[in-house]
């Protein structure tokens, strides 16, 4: 069973994140890049599927030059190879354009399952998995907290507000994962050394079959009009508990009409 994992490099949330003043896109140079956390869970799930069913795990990343660091990390977790779509024409693509571009790039790879994170930590739209399924015309098995494959049938538990739905489909399919699904492994020293030799196939937009008139900032379906630092919250009151801390909060809640 061949599996493609979609891995996005995002700025480390522990560092200060900024937008570029000129084109209002994410300033990816301002902070360190890391693998989007949920994508590590996606990689882990792919590795577990491979361990059970055989096949190969391919990482697919679209991003700027420095995203190679995240690709190496993904390979050192145990993935076999990577496809890196890297082209200035893709800069500023929004969620739907990203899904379109990834769908096109997937057209150049053989796979039975596509696994991705259910949400990124930078843009956080949570739209890519669904839009990708729409573009590919494949079953949408998103927000999975458990995945089982039996022959050509795939079954997941889809996390919902009330619990979960059991969802079933025929392969190939698009699967997005939530944090509950597994515990990602740490790369071993041996795997880190091996990862250096694993193939990374770098593709331009054209190589990946992406129509550059449909991607990038100039063709985006959405546009950031302006941005600004959030106004600081008005300083609040902080008191030390002198045995009446609970009552004091109650006073505050009464004043604010919550009680």
């Amino acid at each position: 069973m061949n599996i493609v994992v979609l891995v996005k490099q995002v700025p480390d949330t522990a560092t200060e994140r900024k937008l570029n003043a000129d084109d209002k896109t994410l300033d990816r140079a301002a902070s360190d890049g890391v693998i989007n956390e949920l994508d590590e869970y996606a990689i882990e799930e792919a590795l577990q599927l491979k361990e059970k069913h055989g096949g190969e795990v391919t990482i697919l990343t679209m991003g700027p030059d420095q995203a190679t660091d995240s690709i190496r990390k993904a390979l050192s977790m145990g993935a076999d190879k990577a496809v890196f779509v890297n082209d200035d024409a893709l800069h500023g693509s929004d969620s739907l354009q990203t899904a379109y571009a990834l769908a096109q790039a997937l057209g150049t790879i053989e796979y039975d399952v596509v696994v991705l994170g259910s949400e990124s930590t930078d843009a956080r739209t949570g739209v890519v998995g669904a839009a990708l399924a729409e573009y590919l015309g494949l079953p949408q098995l998103t927000f999975a907290r458990k995945v089982d494959v039996d022959g050509s049938t795939i079954r997941i538990q889809r996390q919902t507000d009330y619990g979960y739905d059991v969802v079933e489909a025929q392969l190939p399919a698009v699967v997005s994962v939530v944090e509950k699904i597994n515990e990602p492994r740490y790369p071993s020293f041996k795997l880190i050394m091996q990862a250096k030799k694993k193939p990374v196939d770098k593709k331009s937009a054209a190589d990946a079959g992406i129509d550059t008139a449909r991607v990038g900032l100039a063709n985006a379906t959405t546009e950031t009009v302006d941005f600004d630092a959030a106004p600081p919250r008005a300083a609040g009151t902080v008191v030390k508990d002198e045995g009446d801390g609970g009552a004091k909060i109650a006073d505050f809640l009464v004043e604010k009409k919550f009680v």
């Binding site: 929004d94 899904a99 739209v127 507000d161 379906t221 959405t222 609970g246 009552a247």
Partner: protein, 314 residues
């Protein structure tokens, strides 16, 4: 005036509060038309009328038998047939997916997790854990906007809420991911986390899997219970209650943080709360930077006293 489609969130015929907020926002843009999927529209109609829905399009529950895609077909068809000016949905995980697929079908764009939207469908986002405010718009086709619960205050305005059944021929392509079972996990009587007007959350400071100090306070306020990742990772509280970057985003009128330090990843999920109260024994805890009211002290003393005081003063 052009119609603005509002996808209704409901449970057993009860309209959720966020839908009344969406109808309020829709009135700024055009004429609100509610889209109801499933049974119970008759019992929900009054609430929709009260918040200005002029129409209620009703589609059958069968659309829920397959993941997301059938509802996207419904919205895309309605948007085209009615020449809609915009589509508004609540920013839940599933609705954002519906929004995304609908936008692909319509060749338009989607704005997610917005905290406000104006008459020209320019939407306000709060990003990077609340540190930056952006305004954005959709450049092509029918704008689709996913609005966070508790962001736009609901205001009543009467509407006709004229019911109209819509039949959609769901395509085979939209029937590939079949829901074979729905499992309800213990929710109790508490309000749903992302929708609740008040959320009380506990962190590592709670100290054990006995979360009753948090739950009792929540129940005295009619609030939902949340947890930090440290509490969830320790196995003290179930995963679906995690608030933050990798958990739920909440935007309640009141957020109470008990024994939570206020890490940036936690703030990402609660910073747009209108009022924040914190109890923490460490005066240097970053959560106090956000707090409208903070008490430096032991939550195991402060929270039970607060619970008692609330019961007394109610």
């Amino acid at each position: 005036m052009a119609e603005v489609l509002v996808l209704v969130d409901h449970v057993d015929g009860q309209v959720k509060k966020v839908t009344t907020e969406l109808l309020t926002a829709a009135r700024r843009i055009g004429e609100p038309a509610a889209v109801w999927v499933g049974d119970g529209a008759e019992s929900g109609r009054a609430a929709l009328a009260e918040y200005g829905a002029e129409k209620v399009y009703v589609a059958t529950a069968e659309l829920n038998d397959h993941v997301v895609a059938p509802k996207a077909e419904l919205l895309a068809k309605l948007a085209q047939d009615k020449g809609a000016a915009a589509i508004l949905v609540s920013a839940t995980a599933e609705n954002k997916e519906i929004a995304g697929r609908t936008a692909v079908k319509l060749g338009s764009g989607v704005l997610t997790d917005v905290v406000d939207v104006n008459a020209d469908v320019v939407a306000e986002h709060s990003i990077f854990g609340g540190a930056t405010i952006t305004h954005a718009r959709v450049r092509t086709g029918v704008p689709i906007v996913a609005v966070r619960p508790n962001s736009v205050p609901a205001e009543a305005a009467s509407g006709a809420a004229a019911e109209e059944a819509v039949s959609v021929e769901v395509s085979d392509a939209a029937k590939t991911a079949r829901v074979v079972e729905r499992v309800n996990e213990e929710q109790g009587e508490r309000p749903e986390l992302t929708e609740a007007a008040i959320v009380v959350s506990g962190g590592r400071g709670v100290g054990s899997d006995d979360f009753s100090v948090v739950e009792d306070l929540a129940d005295s306020l009619g609030a939902a219970v949340g947890a930090s990742r440290a509490a969830v990772d320790s196995g003290w509280y179930p995963n679906q209650f995690q608030v933050g970057q990798t958990g739920k985003t909440v935007s309640p009128n009141l957020y109470v943080a008990l024994g939570i330090s206020g890490a940036i990843q936690h703030r990402a999920g609660m910073q747009t709360a209108k009022n924040i109260v914190a109890v923490n024994k460490d005066p240097e805890a970053p959560i106090f930077e956000l707090a409208d009211y903070g008490v430096v002290g032991d939550l195991h003393k402060v929270a039970p006293q607060l619970t008692e005081e609330i019961k007394k003063r109610k």
